[in-house]
Symmetry: C2
Subunit: 359 residues, 2 copies
Amino acid sequence: MEQLFSYQQLFDFARQVFIKIGCPQKDAGIASKSLLSADLRGVDSHGVARLSGYVRLWEAERVNAAPEMKIIHETPSTAVVDGDRGLGLVVAPYAMQVAIQKANAVGSGWVSVQNSNHFGIAGYHAMLALPHDMIGIAMTNASALVAPTFSKERMLGTNPIAVAIPAGTEPAFVADFATTTAANGKLEILQRKNKPVPAGWVQTKEGETSFNAHELKEGGSLLPLGGDREHGSHKGYMLGSIVDIFSGILSGANFGPWVPPFPAYLPMPENMPGKGIGHFFGAMRIDAFRPGADFKKDMDQWIGRFRQAKTSDGHERVLIPGDPEREMEVLRMKEGILLLNEVVSDLRSVGDKLGVELG
Amino acid sequence: MEQLFSYQQLFDFARQVFIKIGCPQKDAGIASKSLLSADLRGVDSHGVARLSGYVRLWEAERVNAAPEMKIIHETPSTAVVDGDRGLGLVVAPYAMQVAIQKANAVGSGWVSVQNSNHFGIAGYHAMLALPHDMIGIAMTNASALVAPTFSKERMLGTNPIAVAIPAGTEPAFVADFATTTAANGKLEILQRKNKPVPAGWVQTKEGETSFNAHELKEGGSLLPLGGDREHGSHKGYMLGSIVDIFSGILSGANFGPWVPPFPAYLPMPENMPGKGIGHFFGAMRIDAFRPGADFKKDMDQWIGRFRQAKTSDGHERVLIPGDPEREMEVLRMKEGILLLNEVVSDLRSVGDKLGVELG
């Protein structure tokens, strides 16, 4: 069913593949590191399993492997970056560095990005701020799969938000979540097991409650965080909308139902109002608010206190955002990454086509 | 059951009450306007019904009616404001003006506030950015009523987030929501009707599912947006935590279970690590990203398209965030504000005590 690979094996393979499609050496390394961070952190749906998808986007000429990314508008604390149709895996770290530079100069930096593509996991980009003693924020829009409250039409992507906050002796707080009840990856797991999904995850194309893990293939939609109005789905809808506007409209990218799809076999939306996919990034220096040591002491107290929160029956501990992913990263870096056989054969066929061996 | 008042009647009454407890004339006007904005927008739990609560906080010497608010730390794009124990209703608009000034100067402004009190509805403060063609952001922490995922202990407040985004010919997009499945105000409505609450709103003090609208009085807790793990409550927990950290830790206010309570009869938490309640505000000039006209044209297209999204059976229209509150404001400004008799007699007894007549 599954095969084990080391991080280094998969990193080297991905890097060679990116070089073969025309990425400069440096970009290929950056792209592979962001891509593989998903596998390390346990977000298997966004990792190396998507490598062939990125290659197909390149084959369809929807991705520019050697983009000339640039700032097209700026103030001391803000910028818009044109990603030149590059891989989001490369464009996002570039834009995040712009945000970090601005935060160094004036306390905070905020960058909206147009003309990009899928950027992997948001958390990786937000975490780039941590070594600078900054809070990092990353979000992106994505092609429409989610119906607003009271609607049966796909209007928003799963539009994730990530926020990374440095601490002192405790590990950093890292939140990274889709603004839907359940991310697409969770659905895929139940599809493979042929199991029903809980209420509040998906609806049919007629807007009716569904427990079918394959509902999206039949025209249905994902539901915003909350599931239905009674459980606060209007809040998930608002969150997804904010991500869409910050990523798509502040930048001049596409938004709402016009965001281009990840699968290269799907047609591009008609009458697209902007350029590519949009992202939004932020960096705030903690010492732009308080002395860094004071902030970190309080963060350690926050984390320590929440770890000690009384648990409900049947639960061993209360998690701090980022705990499961960090623990997974330690484990997988040491013991390797298990890939499903279908992912492995997909990677091998990409490798065969491009002349790269999966070690 | 209910009595009708005009906006002006309630505004004048609140303003006189604030003056009687020692607010400077100008602050009394600012406080009354922010307080009454909740009644106008239909958030009855946060409006004039809370006036007596603010007075009791002043009687308990937990609120300073004539604060000297000031910036205690800043960079070109960030600041920390000390609210000097003032009414949040006054401190928040002050801090928002600081954010707006910084956005005017360097593109965006981000202000964390310590030593404040309850600030009414977040949406009012976020909307202060709109006339400046800026996006406004407001959030606050609050005393602990919410249990993290897997916990039975109250660790976070309902920690609301508001984001106001200008449009062109369309009205502004205004999202304003607690990071719980249901805000406390919704619970109070069901309490008065003696009705059960839906699953996913509250749990017992043992962390078990509850349908009891009075559960909080028995030591239970509110649940984060999502309700339970299967429906994404860890996402609501993350959102509430981010609000807590941005408001409480960036500023040096209290955080988590140490945030002071609104009801003056409740004791203050022990070993408080910071000062008062914390807020966080942001302002981003839209032309710090794109020419304002381009941004507004796209926002109009976004809003127009979402209004036309296909509805599910039984629903007339898809709402844009801010629609219901804006429509309520037009209605109540014209036809008046209905107050429950118990609220009216509470207001009259405050008025009697302070020598102010409810017109």
